[in-house]
């Protein structure tokens, strides 16, 4: 009886379903459920509906023949600054009133380039100029769509914190030499800024609580004045907004964990966290995720003890680790960055690939939607011509929500058309300029007046 109903539901679903796409003849790297040597993925309504060696291909399904190629989940970059009109509101030490969501630029070519590197989701962060920075936005690289459509539906809002050299720079550099004379100028001051802000936030939170209680009791009460700076911090205290904290040195990492402990909130991810390997135990105990570079080091003092084994050590000590880019170029080959963890620390292929898929998905709490090839998740998929952990691998095709957003063949074949179009436009501009520069008064004069 029960199975009949299920069948009926399944049949109804099939009948009512929208477009269906099937990827076949692919080696499928599911990340969470092993690898299928030669398998098929059925995509319905933008979601993965079936995965296996054989799926039920309905009539009229669009077939993508991956002929010996590799399919993996869309790559997730947990630290990016692409697709923004602005990055740093650095005039204040606490700029939690601003947010990336207000400045998403869907026309940034970096989106397309990231897509061509297999990235389908990015955590777009405010810069690191201040101890408490602006709010972040998780986006999907839906190239061609508007700003609103870039936002990852259902993602948890975040906020950027920053420790160490960057937030203290505006205070530590003399005014006139690029400095702003802005507190703080030391790591001590960075801690203080965060403590002061959360002390304020607690008071603010309490004033609203008191007000709401009074209202509930039916008493007359005056609502506290809204504070747009403190509101996001209250959300942090209430676990409604994730903290993504830029940090480098072990001391400052531990400091932030203890500050968070004292105020009773969690650090969702430590970003960069290049000395995370020194305090992996404490990171694990706190429950923070770590999002790091594969092998950046030596570009500043706080990166002088950075090692490419960071990701591996933290993984071995039980921390959820992702590899991020923080850079529009690096973002295009995160699969190759993941491959380095095979060498530096001897991680397995699954562990390496998890760092650019399911782990960042967990860190952003979007793992119920993306991050692996599982039934029910969004069909955010990348097809590589070789195993994605090979440095010879190229992205061939990228799907987001089942729609194709990048195709290498198409990109290549359209180049001549685009070049011709550019030439036409340039010629037209030249022609126009020549006409404008022609002697005034003649037949060809445009009547342009001197300005």
């Amino acid at each position: 009886m029960r199975s009949t109903i299920l069948l009926l539901i399944a049949a109804m679903a099939a009948f009512a379903a929208g477009p269906v796409t099937v990827i076949q003849n692919a080696q499928i790297l599911t990340i969470t459920k092993g690898t299928i040597k030669n398998g098929q993925i059925l995509i319905r309504d933008g979601k993965i509906a079936e995965v296996g060696e054989k799926v039920n291909i309905p009539a009229g399904a669009k077939i993508i023949d991956a002929g010996g190629q590799f399919v993996m989940p869309g790559i997730i970059d947990c630290h990016s600054h692409i697709a923004t009109e602005a990055v740093n509101e650095g005039t204040l030490s606490v700029s939690s009133m601003v947010g990336i969501e207000d400045v998403v630029n869907p026309e940034d070519i970096a989106i397309y380039r990231a897509l061509a590197g297999g990235v389908t989701t990015a955590n777009v962060l405010h810069g690191s100029a201040n101890a408490i920075g602006g709010k972040c936005a998780v986006i999907k690289t839906r190239w061609g769509k508007d700003a609103q459509s870039m936002i990852f539906e259902g993602s948890t809002p975040g906020i950027k914190f920053a420790l160490g050299e960057n937030p203290k720079r505006a205070g530590a550099t003399p005014v006139g030499q690029g400095g702003r004379g802005r507190y703080p100028a030391t790591r001590m001051g960075v801690e203080d800024v965060i403590r002061e802000a959360f002390t304020e936030a607690k008071t603010y939170q309490a004033s609203w609580k008191e007000y709401n209680e009074k209202v509930q009791r039916g008493e007359k009460a005056l609502a506290p004045r809204r504070d747009l700076k403190l509101e996001p911090l209250v959300e942090v205290l209430e676990g409604k907004r994730f903290v993504h904290a830029h940090c480098y040195r072990a001391d400052e990492i531990l400091m932030l964990l203890r500050v968070a402990d004292d105020f009773g909130f969690k650090i969702r991810t430590l970003q960069h966290v290049l000395e995370g390997y020194k305090v992996a135990k404490e990171i694990k105990e706190h429950g923070a995720g770590a999002s790091t570079f594969s092998d950046w080091w030596g570009y500043k003092v706080e990166a002088y003890d950075a090692i490419p084994y960071n990701a591996a050590i933290m993984t071995r000590k039980g921390v959820t680790v992702s590899l991020n880019s923080d850079d529009a170029e690096l973002m295009r080959h995160l699969n190759q960055e993941a491959a380095k963890t095979l060498k530096y620390g001897g991680l397995t292929e699954d562990e390496a690939l998890a760092m650019i898929t399911i782990n960042p998905a967990k860190q952003l709490a979007i793992d119920k939607y993306v991050g692996s090839i599982e039934v029910g998740k969004s069909a955010d998929l990348v097809i590589f011509d070789k195993h994605p952990l090979s440095n010879y691998a190229k992205v061939q095709k990228v799907l987001i929500d089942g729609d194709t957003y990048f195709e290498r063949d198409k990109d290549q074949s359209e180049r001549t058309v685009k070049a011709a179009e550019k030439k036409t436009l340039l010629d037209k501009e030249k022609e126009q300029q020549q006409r404008q520069n022609a002697p005034r008064g003649g037949q060809g004069a445009t009547g342009r007046r001197p300005s």
């Binding site: 690029g178 030596g298 060498k343 010879y392």
Partner: protein
């Protein structure tokens, strides 16, 4: 016992202590096809024999490389190794001297042999690098108001040695010229109030560019007059260190390493070399366009800019930098790879791998990583392939070095097996074992 043997052997320097054999390896000599089950014999730091049927001399120190591969050590043709430790800290940087014309400056004697970068980079199979007196960017490394033109003499060094003298592969390598470019604005990261980078319009920028070119031509003409005065022992002739350093360039003994990124600069650099009749190498080229045919016709080699780079212009194909090495190869231009920094020098093989993924034949990538670089820098007879008579700069690996998963198991520089541990491996071991 072993200690005694070592002592005895070291007392007899020309005998077996200086003989090393690597056997049972798949050797990739680059100069020819791979050789299975091969043996390489090293005597006094140089390769004395390589092949499948090579006898191991009695008393040689033998390393068994069963299942392993041996390649020539890779050469990174553009770094700042030894000249820069922490790129953002002024005190640790010795690139980008002040002044327009500094051909007399030698990068070599400023190389810090104890730099932590050296063991880190070589651990990935890079045995030789070229350190440039100035590397990219706008303005002097720190504080220089106007970009220098002639920045000094690059250093070509082995990544092993107690002193920079030990490390030097070649003393006179080249003289570096940062070719002027038309720049209308200051670099984006510069302070808005910095008067050193006034924003100018295109006409003004072009005028500045032409002015710089004139200054450059004048400097070369002055150097040539100095050379003539010296040759003819003109009365009142006085030694000038700057002009003195230009003589090898004017005589064609060393090339002028011209850093130029865009097609226009490269085109003008070629015209400049024609005008001044000097040998040039183009470094950091990121857009060649119509200059490819000229580079080929005039035998001008190229140090290709980083392969893992963003396209130069917004509307360039996304893979513009990835396909550049293949483009150079197809045009018949000789080229080598450079990483243009220290931090990512260890990723040199992955720059090459990316070029292979985007159309460069693998064997050409290997040439660019080894012998092409050696030849461009005038040391093709010393390094760059596994051939008899060359320095034994070798890496022993467990797979294809262009794949990140491959490990370098042993490394030889001038026949000396170097330590693969470094700052990173030490910290790894220390903190992995933290209780």
């Amino acid at each position: 016992m072993r200690f005694i043997t070592t002592c005895l052997l070291s007392a007899l320097p020309l005998l077996a202590a200086d003989t090393i054999a690597i056997r049972n390896a798949t050797v990739h000599p680059v100069s020819g096809p791979e050789i299975a089950n091969a043996t390489i014999v090293i005597v006094e730091g140089k390769i004395s024999a390589v092949g499948a049927k090579v006898a191991i001399p009695k008393g040689a120190k033998v390393s068994d490389a069963k299942g392993m591969h041996v390649y020539p050590g890779m050469i990174d043709s553009a770094t700042e190794v030894g000249l820069s430790e922490i790129s953002s800290v002024r005190e640790t940087n010795d690139t980008g001297e002040l002044g327009d014309f500094n051909p007399q400056l030698k990068a070599l004697s400023a190389v810090n042999p104890a730099s932590e970068h050296i063991p880190v980079i070589r651990a990935n199979g890079i045995t030789t690098v070229v350190s440039l007196p100035f590397i990219g960017g706008g303005g002097g490394r720190m504080g220089g108001a106007v970009q220098s033109l002639i920045t000094g003499q690059p250093a070509m060094i082995h990544l092993d040695g107690w002193t920079w003298e030990d490390m030097a592969v070649k003393r006179a390598t080249a003289v570096e010229l940062v070719f002027p470019a038309i720049t209308s604005g200051r670099p984006r990261f510069m302070d808005n109030e910095n008067p050193s980078f006034p924003r100018v319009n295109f006409t003004e920028a072009k005028r500045n560019y032409e002015k710089r070119l004139k200054e450059l031509d004048k400097f070369f003409e002055d150097a040539r007059r100095y050379q003539q005065a010296k040759d003819s022992k003109e009365p009142g002739f006085k030694t000038d260190l700057k002009f003195e350093a230009m003589i090898p360039v004017l005589e064609g003994k060393v090339p002028l390493l011209v850093t130029a990124m865009r097609e226009r600069s490269i085109k003008d650099a070629i015209a400049f070399s024609d005008r001044q009749k000097v040998k040039i190498v183009i470094a950091g080229g990121r857009e060649f366009g119509s200059t490819l045919a000229d580079l080929k016709a005039k035998n001008i080699p190229v140090i290709a800019g980083p392969t893992l780079a963003l396209p130069l212009n917004e509307d360039d194909p996304y893979d513009q930098a990835f396909t550049l090495p293949a483009e150079l190869y197809k045009a018949g231009v000789k080229f080598a790879f450079g990483t243009f920094g220290n931090q990512f020098s260890r990723n040199l093989p992955y720059q090459a791998a990316n070029a292979v993924a985007f159309g460069l034949p693998a064997e050409e990538a290997w040439k660019a990583l080894t012998i092409n670089a050696a030849e461009i820098w005038g040391v093709g007879d010393q390094v760059g392939t596994i051939e008899k008579g060359k320095w034994a700069d070798l890496m022993v690996t467990d797979g294809d070095p262009l794949e990140a998963r491959t490990n370098v198991k042993m490394l030889f520089i001038k026949g000396h097996e170097v330590d693969l541990s470094n700052k990173h491996t030490r910290l790894y071991e220390k903190y992995l074992n933290r209780p």
